[in-house]
Amino acid sequence: MNQLGEISLSLSLVVVIYAAFASFVGSVKNNEALVKSGQNAFFSALGLYTVSAVVLMYAFFTRDFSIEYVYNYSNRDLNKFYTVSAFWAGQKGSLLLWAWMLSLFGSVAILQNRRKNAQIMPFATGIISITLILFSVLMVFASPVFKQMTALPPDGYGLNPMLQNPGMIFHPPTLYVGFVAFTIPFAFAMAALLKRQEGEMWILSTRRWTIFAWFFLGMGNLLGANWAYVELGWGGYWAWDPVENASFMPWLVGTAYLHSVMVQEKKGMLKMWNVSLVTITFCLTIFGTFITRSGLISSVHSFGETTVGYYFLAFLITVIVFSSWLIYSRRELLRSENRFDSILSRESSFLFNNLALLGAAFAVLWGTSFPMISELVRGVKITVGPPFFNKVMTPIGWSLLVLTGICPLIAWRKATFSNLKKNFIIPFVTAVVGAMAMIAMGLRDVTAWLFFTASVFVLTTIALEVARGLKMRMADGRENVLTGLFQLVARNKRRYGGYVIHAGMVCMFVGFTGNAFNDQREVAVKPGESFTIRDYKLTYVGAEYNKPKPTKDSFVATVLVEKDGKKLGYMRPEKNLYSNFDMPNSEVSILSTVKEDMYLVFLALDGENNATFKAHVNPLVKWLWIGGMIIGIGTIIAMLPDRRENRFIQSLMETGKKV
């Protein structure tokens, strides 16, 4: 059975090499049969990866510990859900998941585009195939997925307890979807350049892929933050860890790209900028995988195997060199059709948006790599941590937030004073009133005040836009508020989906701002003793021991929580010991409301049942997750099929007109 998996992977390497060859040669020589053959080869690669994946999953479920990977990440105790997630717990399974996803997305992209984009589809297929070559090479030579153990162990090692959390079922695959899906717009961009195709057809065709990738990349990061918050027990959700940063950077650049293509669509500007951005985004996804899976930077995610890193590095360098050459050689094609006329215009605010996002990505890159650079260049070891990132990202984040309110409303080309007044007077005044109200209510933290004020500004601009649109729809009296709202969104899914996403982002910023008011306390208490933090009173009732599984010893502390004299309930943080893992593992207890989170960690227990706890009060954290859900809704709206857009693309295809 396992041999079937191995053979499948070896075959996949042959097949994707052929797919690349047939697609490129077939397109250059205008040989339709060869192009078709390349596409079929690509589809069969999907089949082969599927076979390997099924074999591996089957091995996990039948507890086949003769495979080293299955041994390392599962044991007989492990329940069904976590056995599934064990598939992507380590490097080998992750590589297979990645390859499988890319071949799946690529196949869908081929089916969607082989008629619509017949001219460039083969080259795009070829580029995606080359990426798959990297992964197949890794899985066959550098890090064989089905590597055998020298002798059959009676039981597996088990999945690290920190990974036995629902978050781990979703966080890695979600992130991979985001990483992998960005390959599609990149492949199309390069294919359009290679074929010297004019116009924005490739952007229109990959618009939904971009939003899809962007959404999953963002959600993947958010799920990771949620997992860290709930599982790692240090009280926060983002540590600016190198691997967190590695998956945040492509999101930042991807967001910039997602916005600047709108300028290209509307005004034919920023063409060279956009192909560069999509290339950088793709490179950062590869770089992110490289950092996460090569063990180069030791962090929460790294694994010992470093040989894989060299292959990634070689691929990355090849992509950078090739794209740079291609963009340079096609620079005539990428000339702008319009110019920037005024700093007060939508074009400029998009540009500022991009500068802010790229500035953020650069700051993150610099902060992450500076310790390595410092050691190499000056021989001095330095740590760069949250203080740096918070200091730099805060002003950039605030600028972005304000731009979110300005950009959708400001006029194209050149905003006149009357245009500015009409669009911004109400949001500006509302924000000022809000700002004064906050001061009156006792808010003294300047940064928080700035962020809350900006949030009011942005939400007001969105509300105003919706109100204006609604008023127009209801003007002839045939629609009421509900149907008006529905029609408004249905006819402008992209715009209003975007507004919903922006509203979600504001919620997330509100969540981030809550950090300014965090509080924490460490205490050592005897049974029956109480301690207070903010207006909470926590009483340590006692601790009990149980053994839910042969490999798991569990200590549960019971703590009574009261607030302003009212009993809220009991919290039961745990401390668990797993026989195979050196480290004890804490299960944090969280009481979450929209106002704040009460976050309790059970640190230690001594022989006399005295306990140490760490309690955190984290205001506004829930808004992060609420914001994430709102962004999800907005993304779905923005991705829904649009009749007007389809008609436009259809007419492009029929007339062969340049966009």
Partner: protein, 133 residues
Amino acid sequence: MDIAQKKFLIGGLVVVGALTYLVYTGIKETSVYYLTVSQSASMATTNRDFRMEGTVIPGSIKIAPGSLGADFIITDAVKQVPIKYHGAIPDMFKDNIKVVVQGKYDKDGVFLAHTLLTSCPSKYEASKQGGKI
């Protein structure tokens, strides 16, 4: 290049300049030196926080019951430094493990630490010794 475009270039350069300045001062003000025990002697008189790594000398850990913190000694096989740490004890803390402390020296050459970190050998994989046949 006409006036409008010149304005753009200047505006863009101003933004880039501001970002560069932000990053530069950010690194300068927030980076924390990461030193071995021997190297840390140079920080004895500065009033700046820094990080130090070393191995816990067996038998040196003293924890007062019911308190949060520990006294212990770390070494890099060349020199030793006594540490006074106040805070929660990480799970992995015991004799002979590698730790990272953050804080500064007091007047008597004792290192006052507010942060104590232990490093886990292999975070997610089975530790190489356990369970292998």
